[in-house]
Each structure stands twice: as structure tokens, then as C-alpha cells.
Symmetry: C2
Subunit: 241 residues, 2 copies
Amino acid sequence: MSPDDTLAPFLLKLERRAWLGTAEKEAVLGLPYQLRSLERGSSIIREGESAERCHILLSGFAFSSRCSPNGARAVLALHMDGEALDISGCTAEDASCDVQALTSIRVADVSRESLWSLAHEYPQIGVALWRLTARSASVLAEWLVNVGRRDARGRLSHLICEIAQRQKAQGICIGADYVMPLTQEQLGDSTGLTSVHVNRVMQGLRKDLLIRCEKGRVSILDWERLKREGDFRPGYLQLAA
Amino acid sequence: MSPDDTLAPFLLKLERRAWLGTAEKEAVLGLPYQLRSLERGSSIIREGESAERCHILLSGFAFSSRCSPNGARAVLALHMDGEALDISGCTAEDASCDVQALTSIRVADVSRESLWSLAHEYPQIGVALWRLTARSASVLAEWLVNVGRRDARGRLSHLICEIAQRQKAQGICIGADYVMPLTQEQLGDSTGLTSVHVNRVMQGLRKDLLIRCEKGRVSILDWERLKREGDFRPGYLQLAA
DNA sequence: CGGTCTCTTGAGCAGAGTCAATGAACGTGG
DNA sequence: CCACGTTCATTGACTCTGCTCAAGAGACCG
């Protein structure tokens, strides 16, 4: 059917947002790209640099963050397979946030122009990109509620639920066992807490038999109770069709 | 030129995001709409209700919010003239947040379908809508940094700067005097603080001669210092062309 | 073997929350 | 024109969640 399936994970995300015909699908898969493999910790996008290219995450985990000048970093979002990194930023002149690899990852770099011209030529693709951006705004809004209106235990429970739910939706988990790509410090930056406090709260969640942690993994022992703790309602993720 | 300028404020917002030709402009102004005037406090969109219509704010102030079941409300965004309310929500099945009037307002209700078909017929309009959504995501990200990584004084300073800056950009202010459409309780919901604590911090800002408050208004006495307190860099608002 | 990164623990502190009461401004209806 | 209710702003006393600083332990890697 198509000569090159590299961008298939991205196409999948688009198709979930708008119906695409054969021409559209081929146009997406035919986007000129440049493949890169990056180590954990490498920087993909730097805030303020010109956003010439849009980066599509093919495998692995990444996160977006912004820093205040006092050195405090806030994590804004987690990214998984198939997502376009900083999709909101690539409509602007410059990147609006940093993006870094949480694990070793593969990305496809696509020039911003080719993505734009795709949106012009195939309005359905434009609508799909619009919806993907709207979805990322919806997740940001939920994170804002999380940080602004829940206590530490609730915030962490909520975040763990999100990480697990998204892996379930991707089908990249076995049973109740999930990849936990964030360190405790990064968990803190994602929830507006200190790494020290994250540590203590996570101990509490383990003691109460809600979760179990091994290096780089979490198991959710009591999904229902964890959802309640974090007041987690997955609608904002817009996962189900 | 055009028979009906009601939607002109909205057109202006679109034009700031993408170049539009005569056909596009006329198509926007020609959107079928229904005009409504609403009192302060009335609800425009309710979370979870079906998002049949997109609401364009023609005059006045409004805000989006989400509630946690424990009754805690988080304010997600402020809206001013010309903005499409819940623009991210109107790509989804149901509204993803509440929207309420902060002052008496005028809105134009446009059916979601007519907006979509506009985006299909005129890809440039689709791109403009995409960019507007990206912009609202950028503001959400900054609010997340604000709530997650600044102390109470910084958060309020930042928010006041944003409110002022946006009014400046709209040209709806005189000198250093701005409309302050939020009560202290709503300021708290916007910054993850209690109304009691907002009160005390605002007193501090007044005592230090950074701002002055009268009912429904703020004056910024020392713009530079307030910016520093709130670590305010207006880039995220994407106001300048 | 030493260095780095992450997790863990303890002690003390403080920023922000809670609860409760009072006051000022405003609109409304008798 | 006044009495009343409502909404907001303000204040005080007390509590507590989460932060700071500091040090140690385990894992991993070159």
C-alpha cells in the first residue's frame, strides 16, 4: 500500500481526530522527514529557538517544560508514540517550550512548511491538526486543575492515573504494570511539588497498597481507589472514539 | 463593504493568525449567528453539555472554569472581545469546561457545523482557527507555570500583568488604569489560592505601591516592578504581530 | 574505584489554609 | 427613604501542608 510506514503512528493520531481518505493518508505518509534517534535526556526543542521543524515522536517518551528564570522548571505535558511534539508551538514563530527525551526515542523531523501546506491542500488534515491541538489544550487545562486545586496526594494519584490510562489506550502495557518514565524530581515538576515531598507522598501511596514501584515502572494495585484519590475522570484525554 | 459587521471583532482575531482574502473575510462575516445579551454571572457554556454551538464574545469579559467534585473551582482562562469561547471544546463532542460572564456581555452563537464547513472551504480559516487554539494552549501553559512554580505574590502579580497587557493590546484602557473583572475569590480560583490569602497579598501589593485598587479597576503604579514580581514576559500571549 | 544520579530520612520552618466574625457597598422592595 | 439581604472585602487566631536544608544510602557506569 504505502512504501514507507515510518509516520504511521502519527497518521493514526490524525485519523482518530478526523476521517481521512486515501489521498490524505498517502500525503501524510509521504511527508518528507528526517529520522533521528536520541538518548534519554537529550533536548529536542529549546524554548525560544526558531521552530523550523515539527518533531514527531515515533517511539519512547518525552516531556515539555518551561522554566522560570529562578531556575524552577514546570513540566507541561508528557508525550508518547505518534504525538507531534510542541504541536501548539509549531504554529508560532518560535518554540514556546523545551522538549526533552525521557527515554531513548526516535523522532521524525518534518519541516513546518510541509505540514502547513498539507493542511492547506487537505482541509481534513488541517481540521485533524486543529483537533490535536485542542486536545493538548484540554490536557493542559486538567493539569491546571490538578496543580491548582488538589493536595499533593491527589495530584500524584491523578498523574499516575493519566500515565497509566494513556499507556492502556496505546496498548503498550501488560496488566496493571506501567512504564513510569519520570523521576521523582520530574514528578515534582509536573505537579508543582518538591522532589522531597513527592518521595514522602509516594511512600504513603505504597504503604496504603495503592501502587507498587520498581525502577522505571509502577503497578496500580487498586485502580478504583487511586482514581478516587486523584479525582481522575479520563474524559479530558479524549481517548475513546 | 460588508452588510453586517457584528462578527468583525472575531474576524480581527482570525486575521491576526493568518492572512485572509476578500472571500474569506466575507465568509466569516457572513456566518449565520444568533445574538444574545447576557448579565454578569450568567452561564454561557456548561461542562458536559453538548457543544452544538460555538460562542463568540463580542463585548465584555468572560471566564472558563472546571470544577472538581469537592466543589473546588479552577479558573482556566479569561476571555475578551472577539474571542471564541471554549474554542478547544468546540472541536469535541461535549463542552470541556464551564464558561460564565464576568460582566454584562454580548455573544454571537454560531453553529459548530458552519464553523467547520468554513474551515473546510477556506483552509486559511482552518489554519487561523488552529493557531487560535494553539495560542490558548500557550496561555494555559503559562498559567500552569504560574500556579505550579510561583508563590502567591508572584502569581497575582503575573495575573494582573496579563490582564493589563491584554487590555492594552485591545486598546480598551486609559493610561495605567485597567478593568479588573475578577473578584478576589475569582482571583483565588485563577491562581490556586484562597480568597482570604488573595486579600492579604493584594494588600501587600498596594502597600508596596505596585498597584492601586478601586471597585472593578486596577491601576498599575510601577509596571516594571510588578513585571519583575510576577516574572512576567508577555511572549506567551502572542499579541504583537 | 570513584563519580553521578536517584531515592530516602530527619528536623525545623513558613507560606498558605481554615474558621469565624465584622464591615462596607449596593440594590430592592415596602 | 429606610430596612433588609446579598455580595465582597477585611481582619484575627490558629493549624497544617508542604518547603528548606542537610546528610546518607543504593544503583549504575565508566
